[in-house]
């Protein structure tokens, strides 16, 4: 059982990759990319967890008590917000692509191929 969180992280990474490869619609590709990214959140937060640990906020609990690792939380907290704007950038690109190519299928989107 103690491997479950890591298995979920691996699962999200791989299934997200599958989504990108199998996608026939750029918006689906972008959404799948956010799943890959969620894998890193699950992995890092699972790593930092301690059984019986409390959230690292010492307003309610004494500063000496058992708390989970705060570092992974910091790394992920900003990432969640920032990646949303990267996704926005990708969506804007997708809208543009649809305007220029008339399609969202990556197969049609081959401007410069060999």
């Amino acid at each position: 059982m103690s491997f479950l969180p890591f298995a979920v992280a691996a699962w999200l990474f791989l299934v997200g990759l599958y989504g990108i490869v199998a996608s026939q619609n750029l918006i689906r590709t972008i959404i799948s990319l956010t799943i890959v990214q969620a894998s890193t959140y699950v992995l890092l937060l699972s790593i930092g967890y301690r059984t019986g640990g409390q959230a690292p906020i010492f307003a309610d609990i004494p500063a000496t008590s058992n708390a989970v690792d705060p570092v992974v939380q910091v790394l992920m907290l900003t990432d969640v917000v920032v990646e949303a704007t990267i996704t926005a950038l990708l969506l804007a690109l997708a809208i543009q692509a649809h305007k220029r190519f008339g399609s969202l299928d990556p197969h049609e989107l081959r401007a410069l191929t060999d």
């Binding site: 890193t40 990556p106 197969h107 401007a111 410069l112 191929t113 060999d114």
Partner: protein, 608 residues
């Protein structure tokens, strides 16, 4: 007061200011302020470089959070000569690109300048930081600005597709990096690279460390565009605005290689000490594949910017081999080569930009003979081709001879042949273009690949002004870059200086010492002398490049005498090879997965 953090922060502040005032600011003010920030960054980076050269490497603890009992609390900028040198180089190229775009673009507003300055800050931060997570943050910052810059000319189709493929591939690479960081953090409880290295020295190697290494390496190699995770590069480089290409090929891609070297020597060198041989074989295998693949693809292109893009991939293969030799000469050779290559390739992209600016077309066959109008551009372009083939005694030659020596010492006597192949094909391709476009030699038609020709024609001018004359500045900037690429190698002390810098980078225990304890250690650096056969190899590659170009341009009668079946077979093989570069993002991610599996699998099998 320390200036250490300023080359990162000043461009950021300037970018934010430019964005908020851009509506009311005339073009001249935007250009001149961006260029002066670039110059200021170059100066500050050079000062930092001078300090590392004089007093040795040092760590700057942001927020004053010094490490306590070898445990780092905050984030450090861990600056050694290689990092400071790369930062200076990046700032220099950004300034050159900004100067070039002054006359290159007709109508741009402050967004372009702001993005360029943030890109500069990201590259400098990436070179200087000593914290693994901070490295990933700057990697992402570099990416975020690079995507927008690639898509800058949104009225066309190519840039949109190039930017999408670039963004998705590199994002997946970044998530690989985050996963690798997570694994290392779980093992060592540290994010500072020196501390991770120290902790792993005690733990040794096991599957977790190997998989972490594979994920980090494949992530950074995605940015460096090593085969098979290189596909995005050609799509993005062919279509990005010329001043942006200059930075992508000249320094961004090389930073990916730098990260691999930095991570190996600070983090993994300790635990993998017993497996140097095997790791060397793996990295050289990837590098050789990249060098040959890139060289062949480069030679078979007719879209000039795409040709230059594949030439960069081929050189990345050489860099990866050089790093992969895991030796002093290999590292200093690569560093020297990166400087020479960056300057040369930047100049070549700028000259391709001149063609685009004047003829609104970047197809080799369409431009057949039309370049006669601009002989100076042609001369510089041909000079770039000669330089790229690493002719003695330019900077690239010194890099390559160090690499040759290192390959022989490491027991890879065939590796110099790969280097010669790469120099010959990339240099030869540029010379071929120069001959066809600027002298009108060779055929003016090649019916095989009309599709790419069409794409090259669709390329719209980046400036709308009259095309009668090429602004002088657009020739002066590449000319001075080429001049620098010629002379840097022969400046007394330059190459030995790089050797000292490389010795610091390789000093695993020394690094931990100066970052966490503040004990500076000066590792011994040997100066390598160039052997006689190096001149032979160098001259051979240059002659080969000229011969290859001449054969393609004038060799039609010869070709007619070879059996037709052979010619057709070869043609079909190359076309099949080229078709792998399909532009389909699904393909690229499938290849990425395969690359990650290959690197991870071979590490798990051979390094235990």
């Amino acid at each position: 007061m320390h200036i250490t953090a300023l080359p990162i922060v000043v461009p950021m502040i300037a970018a934010a200011l430019l964005v908020s005032v851009r509506k009311w600011t005339p073009r001249l003010a935007l250009d001149s302020s961006a260029i002066s920030v670039g110059v200021a960054s170059v100066t500050m980076c050079a000062l930092i470089l001078a300090r590392t050269a004089h007093d040795g490497p040092f760590a700057y603890w942001l927020g004053g959070w010094q490490p306590k009992h070898m445990v780092s609390i905050g984030i450090s900028l861990s600056i050694d000569p290689v990092g400071a040198g790369l930062a200076t180089f990046a700032a220099l190229l950004v300034t050159a690109a900004l100067l070039y775009s002054w006359r290159y673009f007709d109508s741009i507003d402050g967004l372009f300048h702001a993005l360029m300055l943030i890109f500069l800050a990201a590259m400098v931060g990436f070179s200087l930081t000593g914290d693994l997570f901070d490295l990933a943050v700057f990697f992402e910052l570099m990416s975020a600005t690079a995507y927008s810059l690639t898509a800058y000319k949104i009225e066309e189709r190519g840039p949109i597709q190039g930017a999408i493929n670039f963004a998705i591939t590199n994002s997946v690479g970044a998530y690989g990096i985050f996963t690798g960081i997570g694994l290392l953090y779980a093992r060592t409880g540290a994010l500072n690279m020196a501390q991770i290295g120290a902790a792993l020295d005690r733990h040794g190697t096991d599957p977790l460390v190997l998989v972490a290494m594979a994920l980090l390496f494949i992530g950074f190699l995605t940015k460096a565009a090593a085969v098979p995770v290189h596909f995005w590069l050609a799509d993005a480089h062919a279509v990005a605005p010329t001043p942006v290409c200059v930075l992508f090929s000249g320094v961004m891609v090389e930073l990916g290689i730098y990260a691999v070297a930095r991570l190996y020597w600070t983090i993994f060198a300790g635990p993998l000490h017993a497996h140097t041989e095997e790791l060397r074989a793996i990295l050289i295998a990837f590098g050789t594949m990249t060098a040959i693949w890139g060289g062949v693809m480069c030679y078979s292109q007719r879209h000039i910017k795409r040709l230059l893009a594949f030439s960069t991939i081929s050189h990345v293969g050489m860099f990866l081999c050089g790093i992969g030799l895991l030796s002093a000469d290999g590292l200093s050779g690569t560093a020297t080569y990166i400087v020479g290559h960056g300057l040369t390739k930047a100049a070549l992209f700028m000259l391709a930009g001149v063609l685009l600016h004047r003829f609104q077309n970047i197809d080799e066959f369409d431009l057949h003979g039309r370049g006669r109008e601009i002989p100076w551009t042609g001369a510089l372009f041909a000079l770039g081709g000669i330089l790229l083939s690493a002719v003695p005694v330019v900077t690239l030659f010194f890099g390559k001879s160090l690499l040759d020596g290192a390959s022989l010492a490491a027991g890879y006597p065939w590796l110099p042949a790969v280097f010669v192949f790469s120099s010959m094909f990339t240099g030869g391709a540029v010379l071929r273009v120069a001959g066809r476009v600027f002298c009108g030699w060779g055929a003016s038609k090649r019916p095989l690949d009309e599709e790419q020709a069409h794409q090259a024609r669709e390329e719209e001018p980046e400036e709308q002004a009259s095309r009668g004359r090429t602004p002088l500045l657009m020739l002066l900037v590449p000319a001075s870059l080429l001049a620098a690429a010629i002379v840097i190698g022969v400046i007394p002390g330059a190459v030995p200086g790089i050797e000292v810098a490389a010795a610091h980078l390789r000093d695993h225990h020394g690094y931990i010492g100066w970052v966490l304890r503040g004990h500076v250690h000066f590792p011994p650096a040997e100066t390598t002398h160039i052997a006689g056969y190096d001149y032979l190899y160098g001259a051979g590659a240059a002659v080969g490049a000229v011969a290859l170009a001449a054969l393609t341009l004038f060799g039609q009668p010869l070709l007619r005498r070879t059996p037709e079946l052979l010619v057709r077979r070869a043609g079909i093989a190359i076309m099949a090879f080229r078709r792998l570069h399909s532009g389909h993002i699904g393909d690229y991610i499938a290849w990425w997965t395969a690359g990650a599996a290959l690197l991870g699998g071979s590490s798990l099998i051979f390094l235990r």
